[in-house]
Symmetry: C2
């Protein structure tokens, strides 16, 4: 399904498809943080999604839209992060095989989570070329369907379902802030907003050390030659072609955030909201706090994208 | 109000009195933790209560049951922990003065929270005798009403309201586990269960390093000569007389928990449920996990009592 761009109809179809499996996550609010931000914040708590991140939405949609014959051959991906765990759990909900290609040197606790959901791990050398080659080999051997972490229309459509729920629960919003890495969540969000809340402005929070989405949208072509340097481990990927095309079509403004501000926002969410969120989530609040003029007095949605963090290596202890 | 024992009617009155000010906190569930515990757990999320702990319920009830004339003279207490912050915020909801006696050497971040809610801090020497003397002097000078952290019928009645909400949301429970320190929450819970869920067994989770409630209930008289040694900073107090009398009347079983098991449970709640809870909360889950035979297959309520933790000194880093 990765060739065509996703559509809003596919977001709606995804919502129906994943409903029996995914959590309808709550929308959280905090008077204290509203007072600091000078606006009215609605936090979509995707860190409380199954497998601890919004990634389960897209993975679940990709798994359940397969025909029975396709599903019988399983699914495959290359990701040692949230998408790998999400796809493993999504495959488990359908009782099919999941192959996850992981580079040597990946964090052991993350691999344990993926294996814990029943996936088969395939080791490869580090680097995107080695990962893609190893994944292609697995697909060739097994006949599994490749589910790319973000450059996939079914995944993008699935990620868009979070926005449907947020708007249904929080009511009208003036602005919505989501993190951007490979662009799956950003593109799905753009599709949903264009269809049901066209007056809601979309902002993409991007780490200063991996701000190629800003550059890509500014230049009108994808920037791919960069080396990410950011604490936001979920946002180190390169904006994919489907995400790029969708964001160009619908429009979105990138807000670049320094890691220090992301860490401060993460601490604030832990301390005041009592929520364990990862840096790639907290960057959205940091983007709001760092741009008070833009959001003053508005109703602002913020997607807390995930909560999978290494409790033994908290960033403020570094 | 501290002389008489609280009644269930006072719990009901407290619920109505605090409704405009306190949060109705959510009930959280986790399939992963249910699977580990072998039972069906309903977590009452009092760490999401205002000021970050259930203590706001009792403090709020105590503040709002004062006559206008009493209220005009303010309230006072001695507590550098969650009750101090809760009373300060409760006083702020009524626009009255709050005096908090704090010992020299108390944690600066906790004092800042109390002062942040607008309370006046009064320093005293460490030790319960010095604290009580300093508090009595403040009451004498100002005419403020003393609101004891737990040996107070209005406070106990307020704490009981959490159980009303839990049962209303979670439905029938076979068992309910709450932490016990001074006994305010335990006594309020016992009153509520006796009236509306008499078949639900009450368990009190108590740290091994401060297990004087177990000893007091076993001996039939309050044990007061002990030196607490536990990471559960909210549970170092001595069971008060009203708590003792109420627990003796209604019955409750104490489950003693080692700090190491509390820390493991706290980590589990952070990692799997993504909730920032303090050790004094996590001890309830530790009590369930440590007594699988007692809870197997049951519907078990667990009160997550607070989430005020020093993010710079996490217990597993020690």
């Amino acid at each position: 399904m990765s060739a065509a761009l996703a559509t809003f109809d596919e977001v709606l179809a995804a919502a129906a498809r994943i409903a029996p499996h995914a959590h309808t996550t709550p929308v959280l609010r905090s008077r204290a943080i509203d007072a600091m931000a000078g606006c009215n914040l609605a936090f979509k708590a995707e860190h409380l999604q199954r497998a601890g991140a919004f990634k389960f939405r897209g993975a679940c949609n990709a798994v359940w839209r397969l025909t029975d014959a396709e599903a019988a051959r399983g699914v495959a991906t290359h990701s040692s992060g949230n998408h790998g765990a999400a796809l493993a759990l999504a495959a488990a909900t359908r009782g099919i095989a999941c192959h996850v290609v992981v580079p040597r040197g990946a964090v052991a606790s993350k691999l344990a989570a993926i294996a814990g959901y029943g996936a088969v791990l395939h080791r490869c050398e580090p680097g995107i070329a080695a990962r893609e080659a190893a994944c292609a080999a697995v697909v060739e051997t097994t006949g599994a369907s490749l589910v790319h972490p973000y450059a996939d229309a079914a995944v993008i459509a699935g990620q868009g379902t979070a926005t449907l729920e947020l708007l249904a629960t929080a009511g009208p919003l003036d602005a919505l802030v989501v993190p951007v890495g490979g662009g799956g969540l950003a593109a799905g969000t753009a599709l949903a907003l264009a269809a049901i809340a066209p007056d809601c402005r979309l902002y993409l929070a991007e780490p200063a050390g991996a701000a190629e989405t800003r550059d890509s949208l500014a230049r009108g072509e994808r920037v791919t030659d960069f080396t990410p340097d950011t604490i936001c481990d979920g946002l180190r990927g390169t904006l994919g072609q489907p995400g790029f095309d969708t964001l160009r079509a619908h429009g979105a403004e990138v807000l670049v955030v320094d890691d220090a501000d992301t860490v401060a926002a993460m601490r604030l969410l832990w301390q005041r909201m009592k929520q364990v969120v990862e840096p790639s989530s907290a960057i959205t609040l940091a983007a709001v706090l760092g741009n008070p003029g833009r959001f003053a007095g508005l109703r602002v949605g913020v997607v807390l994208s995930g909560g999978n963090v290494d409790l033994d290596a908290l960033p403020w202890a570094a």
